[in-house]
């Protein structure tokens, strides 16, 4: 009987040995681009939550995560000026290495003053064309997610 228990133990050990390195390394480095071009704050909040969950699963150190904002998506950064909750989410994600980029075509087309109208945007955060950036990043191996 002891033998059998021993065999069982070995079996369990084998599973542990076999699986654990795989689980620990389940997610290696990931490059991901999230796409936000809608003005519904609920959906925008949902997207920010998705991103946090993504980080939780993969760990910030394994993740190169970009958020491309264009079109009506810019309202997310406008809402954040008055919505402390949304601003908090965005700041929190930034502190974990998430980069938010906004489309210059959108800024120009909608006559937005990014310094005044938007939450925490600096010059380096602006890309010439949001859609072109999405295409560029995918060509660079980023996975595309539209939450």
């Amino acid at each position: 009987m002891k033998k059998l228990i021993a065999i069982a133990m070995i079996g369990i050990l084998a599973i542990a040995v076999g699986i654990s390195p795989a689980m620990a390394g389940k997610y290696k480095k990931q490059k991901v681009v999230y796409h936000i071009n809608y003005d519904n704050p609920k959906r925008q909040n949902g997207a920010l939550r998705n991103i946090q969950n993504h980080i939780n699963a993969v760990r910030a150190k394994n993740l190169d995560l970009r958020v491309i904002i264009h079109g009506k998506g810019y309202t997310m950064l406008k809402h954040a000026n008055t919505d402390a909750n949304m601003a908090g989410r965005i700041d929190n994600l930034k502190s974990q290495g998430v980069k938010f980029n906004i489309c210059n075509n959108t800024l120009r087309g909608k006559k937005i003053d990014y310094k005044k109208d938007l939450h925490d945007v600096s010059k380096e955060d602006i890309v010439p064309s949001g859609v072109a950036e999405l295409a560029y990043l995918q060509a660079k191996g980023y996975a595309y997610i539209k939450p």
Binding site: I7, A14, I15, L134
Partner: protein, 261 residues
């Protein structure tokens, strides 16, 4: 074509469970392409399959089943289970540690089963859509597919602005690009003569950018005819492809970027 007799539920289940040979799978894929009823059945089965899988994922580990076995067999069961577990553990670990994302497998399967060439492209004279030629064209630096599935004019207008900005950007940077706007589902209404409010804008874009194509999904066109008796008249220059969804998959396999607007 009637496929009711050709494909039983068991057979389609095997298809959904990925248990057919590549040849058999190709056959089913081809049949699905030609038969929306069959397509519907497969969709239903797949949904069911996913639901079943999802509920299995929530089940606790299956060790408890051993408790019901007679005592004398239990140790044997443990022994065998241990042996199996050993093999399973090692295999699982090996498989998982192999760092092969599931996507690769899917891509392999679909590449086998849906080669770009079985597709009845209606306007085969259109060089742009003869995938083979320009998928390998090294001179093209960027390939972008923009997916339109919205019938909301406001959103479509935004999308057209995006496209205009994109095309302008590529031209100003001297980047050789190909851009394809694929409309399916409700998005098709934006390319139909009698429903689109944007005929002028689209015509303008087409005239200005020869590397831009508006593409309509034939599945949607057929469905409109079948379900609503509507014969879709498309704007000039709009190209029809077999299926919007398949086109999206094909293009991504060919290295196109995918953007949903």
């Amino acid at each position: 074509m009637k496929h009711e007799d050709q494909f039983s539920d068991e057979y389609l289940n095997a298809f959904v469970d990925d248990q057919l040979t590549p040849e058999e799978r190709t056959q089913v894929y081809e049949a699905i392409n030609n038969d929306s009823e069959l397509n519907q059945r497969v969709c239903e089965l797949r949904k069911l399959h996913d639901l079943v899988q999802m509920s299995y994922e929530r089940l606790p580990p299956m060790s408890s089943s051993i408790d019901s076995a007679p005592i004398s067999r239990r140790y044997w069961a443990i022994g065998i289970a241990a042996g199996l577990a050993l093999v399973l553990g090692v295999l699982l670990g090996w498989g998982l540690a192999g760092d092969k994302p599931a996507r690769a497998t899917i891509a392999q399967i679909t590449q086998q089963t849906i080669p770009g060439n079985i597709v009845p492209v209606i306007s085969s004279k259109d060089e742009f859509l003869r995938g083979k030629g320009f998928a390998s064209d090294k001179k093209i630096q960027v390939k972008v597919l923009i997916h339109l599935n919205t019938g909301n004019p406001g959103r479509f207008k935004e999308a057209l602005n995006d496209v205009r900005g994109l095309m302008h950007y590529y031209r100003s940077k001297n980047i050789n690009a190909r851009v394809e706007i694929v409309a399916n589902g409700k998005g098709l209404s934006m390319l139909r003569v009698d429903t689109t409010p944007f005929a002028k804008e689209i015509k303008q874009l087409q005239a200005e950018y020869k590397n831009l194509r508006f593409v309509a999904c034939k599945n949607t066109i057929d469905r409109l005819a079948r379900e609503k008796g509507i014969i879709a008249r498309l704007l000039p220059g709009v190209v029809v492809i077999d299926s919007g969804v398949v086109q999206i998959m094909r293009r991504q396999q060919q290295g196109w970027a995918y953007i949903q607007v």
